[in-house]
């Protein structure tokens, strides 16, 4: 797949430039379900994207599914509750381990033994992340085996309609918003499997959910240290880069400790910060045209022109 990942678009709109750079002609399919009830407030997007758009209306379709298929809705909500619970327990475990890691980092004077301790802390955190991912993935697989969503008539009907729309376009654009809702709806209708040779333009939350895994982050929340956390696996339309939109608001790029930890924690994925209007292009595993984006490095520094680095798949 080829495409573009972008930062937020409220203050600096670069969607048109990204679509041009991706180079597909014709109308595009649009996903704005992350905006939830405001899904249809998309009137500005055709102008910004420079194309005719067809909104897939995944939020509205999802609401129709939940209203029409009560057993599915009940099981779906039960799974959401389970996911929320698992996330809370994971967060508790993570916070305790992170506190210990921070204490060790504060006490460290740079000896080899302390460096080993810090490495051990990072391994523990990465293990907790991976175990959480495995647990959530297992729950999702069990749910899909049990409920067979795509075989349910109401979902199958919507998928057929979605396939017709997607077959008529060469480009899929995914806006940001609530990432759990985005993931949920993209999965409910199996959108990935309805794509063929489509290109992707995804911004903010849209860029996050289309990667390998979705990481929630905010380093200056009203209270606490602001530890990032893994939500679950992404849709997997691109790989190798962990998009971190809106760093001005959410990251502390001036603090090497945080930058280094974030980078090492999610390696081998490259943590890439994307501020308003920044974007990067990808094509079949190669990343280029990193307009304004910033790479977080393992040594705690940040760098531009990072696509000179070959990203591993």
């Amino acid at each position: 797949m080829k495409g573009a990942l972008l930062g937020p678009q409220q203050l600096k709109v670069t969607l048109g430039a990204a679509v041009s750079a991706v180079g597909r002609e014709g109308p595009l399919a649009l996903v704005t379900c992350g905006w939830q009830e405001r899904e249809d407030n998309d009137e500005d997007l055709p102008g910004q994207l420079g194309r005719k758009t067809i909104n897939l209306k995944l939020y509205e379709r999802g609401e129709q599914v939940l209203a029409a298929d009560k057993p599915f809705a009940k099981a779906h909500r039960a799974r959401q509750d389970q996911l929320r619970q698992i996330q809370e327990f994971y967060r508790l475990r993570l916070e305790r381990t992170f506190d210990a890691a921070l204490d060790i980092a504060r006490k460290s004077a740079g000896t080899d033994l302390e460096a080993d301790e810090l490495r051990l802390s990072m391994e523990q955190i990465r293990r907790i992340d991976q175990e959480h991912l495995d647990r959530v993935s297992a729950l999702r697989e069990a749910y899909e085996v049990q409920l067979r969503p795509r075989e349910r008539p109401v979902i199958a009907k919507h998928r057929k309609e979605l396939k017709e729309i997607l077959d008529s376009v060469g480009l899929l654009a995914i806006a940001g918003g609530h990432v759990a809702v985005l993931l949920n709806r993209l999965r409910m209708f199996g959108v990935k499997d309805l794509l063929s040779d489509h290109a992707l333009v995804a911004w903010s939350g849209g860029a996050m959910v289309t990667g390998e895994r979705v990481v929630l982050f905010h380093e200056s929340p009203p209270e606490g240290f602001g530890i990032s956390e893994v939500l679950e696996q992404g849709i997997g339309l691109h790989a190798g880069v962990l998009p971190l939109p809106n760093p001005k608001l959410r990251l502390k790029l001036e603090e090497p400790l945080r930058v280094g930890w974030l980078s090492r924690r999610y390696a081998p994925s490259k943590c890439v910060a994307m501020d308003q209007g920044d974007f990067v292009l990808f094509d079949d595993g190669k990343w280029f045209g990193e307009e304004g984006t910033v790479l977080l490095k393992e040594d705690g520094s940040v760098g531009t022109r990072w696509t000179d680095v070959q990203v591993k798949q």
Partner: protein
């Protein structure tokens, strides 16, 4: 070793006119040096006093005259991150006059006027209290409720978030002294910013006032009835509000804190959230006497009753108080009482006084704790 203060250097050396001018040109005032703050006044006067309202310090402290100059000075220990409001009293011809510090550009305003403000080392005005051009502003709509409790009509303003939609359901924040919160604590700007940053969800906020706050806010049964049986039902009938305890929060400072707590006590189970700032929670351990004046008499009776039988008044409460205000004693005393109930409580102290900027600076922590926003899940 503590570095020598600039004022001490001036005192030691020749302090002729050029030396004083050089000292004045080299610094801004009040002069903050670590935990020490030097207040300076220049003028032909008989005396100058520092007037402040810091609990534990004298209300009036004389500035020292630097011989053969028109410079007066006084150095005070002020811990890091403190905010202190003050005035100077200058004495001319035997008459005292209270003025703001002419050398200090920082002012804090309140319904009674303005004070000068000194910021201790490390204090900065929180950026989320200032207008953010990126944040979409909410609107203020006029609202009128007929009140049987007061046998009159009450008008107030209602804040609607920028993306208000009738198809959604919003929590309601009912604010006592709402217009003062907007004017002196930037509440509207704070709401716009915190909502924009997703640190709190979209909220509807009733910004109410009272024509007789010292009377009506002091555990007046009519006030509790007006709020709970008239104003809030009217708001819930005409606006898309959650309409359940978890979506109802009472908020207030000083006597507004008493009004919030006493209203919740009178209607247990109706309110789910409380935000109480520097509440005037006066009480007595013996009898009902108090040293604070007649306005506090009903408060003391109410608090004494509540202290005898602390009941669960909400699911969550955020309480803050300034360390520099005398009410710190009453607020600290309230916390263990509330902790005996199942109330989920967050209590915060700040090195500040009984003033609107103290209350402003705690809003982010209080509101986001009572109503956490979707900042971790939403990336637009």
């Amino acid at each position: 070793m503590t570095p020598e203060l600039a004022i001490d250097k001036l005192k030691k050396g020749p302090h002729d006119a050029p030396a004083v001018e050089a000292f004045m040109n080299a610094h801004t005032f009040p002069l903050v040096e670590g935990g020490k703050v030097t207040f300076v006044f220049r003028g032909q006067v008989e005396a100058v006093h520092l007037k402040s309202w810091v609990y534990g310090l004298p209300n009036s402290q004389p500035l020292h005259h630097l011989k053969d100059t028109d410079l007066w000075h006084f150095t005070l220990d002020i811990p890091p991150k403190s905010r202190v409001e003050y005035k100077f009293e200058i004495v001319r011809n035997g008459n005292g006059q209270w003025i703001e510090d002419p050398l200090n550009p920082y002012r804090a305003t309140d319904p009674f006027g303005a004070n000068s403000v000194v910021h201790g080392e490390g204090y900065t005005i929180p950026e989320w209290t200032q207008v953010d051009p990126d944040a979409r502003p909410g609107t203020l709509e006029p609202w009128v409720v007929k009140s049987k409790a007061f046998n009159d009509t009450r008008g107030f303003l209602v804040y609607l978030p920028a993306r208000f939609r009738k198809t959604r359901r919003y929590p309601l924040l009912f604010v006592h002294d709402g217009p003062d919160y907007v004017r002196f604590a930037n509440l509207k700007t704070v709401l716009d910013n915190l909502i924009h940053r997703l640190e709190i969800p979209d909220l509807v906020v009733a910004l109410t006032g009272s024509p007789n706050r010292l009377g009506e806010y002091a555990d007046d049964e009519r006030h509790a009835r007006y709020v709970t049986e008239e104003a809030i039902p009217d708001l819930e009938a005409r606006l898309p509000l959650i309409g359940q305890p978890r979506g109802r929060c009472l908020m207030g400072a000083s006597f507004g804190g008493v009004a919030s707590l006493s209203t919740a006590v009178r209607y247990p189970g109706f309110y789910g959230r409380l935000l109480l700032q520097s509440g005037s929670f006066a009480f007595s351990d013996i009898g009902h006497q108090n040293k604070r004046g007649p306005a506090f008499e009903p408060v003391v009776k109410f608090m004494n009753r509540f202290r005898e039988n602390p009941v669960l008044v909400a699911d969550k409460a955020f309480i803050s108080c300034g360390m520099h205000e005398s009410l710190i004693y009453e607020n600290r005393s309230l916390i263990p009482m509330l902790q005996t109930t199942e109330l989920e409580l967050k209590y915060v102290e700040a090195r500040d006084g009984h003033n609107w900027e103290n209350w402003r600076d705690r809003l982010r922590e209080g509101l986001s704790w009572l109503f956490p926003g979707p900042l971790r899940m939403v990336y637009e």
